[in-house]
């Protein structure tokens, strides 16, 4: 597995979060997740302005062999979606932490960092899954 970006937070559902300067949070799926799914063919994105609850469905990523829900790691409202994924879902495969971002969320409450993982913790979590 490639190195995990150090400035992100991670979830057990293999999603990553990046705090932006404007208070919003960018969310995507990890390199481990995209590699497990295989070549992505379709991403179903939420509507901008839609409210999502912590743990609720937010998007769907579909590969040639599976479709997987992307859950909201925190509550908030959808501030932006990565429209480019509509025509180019494989951006998630090629650049999961960059051009393959999925949504930007405006948190309704604070971010409970205790419920999220640091890069080191997530690396250990993934290593244990692979054992």
């Amino acid at each position: 597995m490639s190195d995990l970006p150090g400035d992100l937070l991670y979830t057990k559902d293999h999603e990553w979060l990046r705090r932006e300067d404007d208070g919003s949070v960018t969310i995507g799926i990890t390199d481990h997740a995209q590699s497990a799914l295989g070549d992505l063919v379709y991403v179903e994105l939420p509507e901008v302005g839609q409210d999502v609850d912590d743990g609720g469905d937010m998007a769907v990523v579909e590969s040639v062999k599976a479709a997987s829900d992307v859950y909201a790691p925190i509550s908030g409202s959808i501030a932006a979606v990565n429209e480019a994924l509509a025509d180019d879902p494989e951006k998630i495969n090629t650049d999961p932490y960059g051009d393959g971002w999925i949504v930007r969320l405006q948190p309704s409450d604070g971010i409970d960092e205790g419920a999220l993982m640091s890069p080191d913790d997530y690396q250990q979590f993934v290593d244990e899954l692979d054992d």
Binding site: V41, K65, A66, A67
Partner: protein, 450 residues
Amino acid sequence: MPFIPHTEKDTREMLAVIGADSTADLFDEIPKELMIEHLPHVPEAMNEMQISRLMRQRAKMDGSPMCFIGAGAYEHHIPTAVWDIATRGEFYSAYTPYQAEASQGTLQVIYEYQTMITELTGLDVSNASLYDGASALAEASLMAVRSNRRVKTGRIMLAPGVNPIYEQVAAAIAGAQGLTFERLPQDAASGNIDFESLPEGKEPVAVVVQQPSFAGTLDDVDRLTDWAHAQGALLISIVNPTSLALLRPPGQWGAEGADIAIGEGQPLGVPMSSGGPYFGFMTCKQKHVRQMPGRIVGRTTDLDGNPGFALTLQAREQHIRRSKATSNICTNQGLMVTAATIYMSLLGYEGLVSVANTSHANTTLLADGLCGIAGVDRLYDAPYFHEVALKLDRPVAPILVALAERDILGGFDLTSTVGTDALLVCATETKTTADIETFIAAFAEVMTGG
């Protein structure tokens, strides 16, 4: 002889392992008020000899009357070759086999079917069929809600001509999922949509129109399609496949075309047999394909560059998406689809046009003849395809009984549907001019004598 391989001992041992006393205990979680002891109208189990005897008796009761009933199921000539081929061992299954790609012939039939249905409806993609036309409306309504996520009302607005049974079935299936079905206003003279009093601001998620309508009329579907799109709704069309040989396909309605086309496939080579079987068809624009229920077969090339067929877009389906699948529909009507594909292949474009033209001409002959009888008139002033609603100056039921005594099924009693004494008649290409004259003469006799 039950088709269950377990002996009583097997069953006892298995129950002991999981700690249950009886098989019935396994259904404990179903609330008592939802359980029924026995199904009304369903007799006790019979053995094969008893069933065969019962079926022979029932078949004899059918007789061989001349049928002028349409109302959703239509008698058409089915070339003998259709079912000779469809019942060959290689095709004789309702399902796509497991490891479907090993059965290239089955997949090719479905692929050819999809191609023909998309050509008839003028839309981009077809699935491998649904149960029937009525449940297809439920599936199309649920699909519209998934595809038109911007609209949250769950409101489906139906043109006055939508088959009332389709509405009941759709409401039964989709009603508990928050969908509501409402009718658009009707113009009394034509029976069609009253465009002058269409409601604004109701935010329907989809608008449904049936062409030809349940009463046989043709509506201004272009205008309705444009209105639906202006309201932010998807347009679902319910169409008769035979009529599409003559009428403009839903994909070309209005400025942008219908979004989803569905209908009953029975007229395409499936016999009318004591209420079934039927099959539903469904096509849609490419942009809605990921919300479409059911299976889709695609054409591809193998490693050596040879053409082949494969199930595609399976991530929508229940074996992958589980509870979030677009539907629990699979390919349950595959055998009817096989027959329909062979039927369409044998008739070809010209054959289908000929069936449609002859049916229209026969229905015109019939309706004109019947309207020449005192007390009979057209119910609606509107163009029609192969079915016409007539109003009578007296109750319809006794007329139909008297005609049945003359071995004629004289039409569908519309009285409870339209709230006035009315009858829906249909004459397909299976009727000769002599048949139609016989019917008209019998009708005149019953009206004057009765």
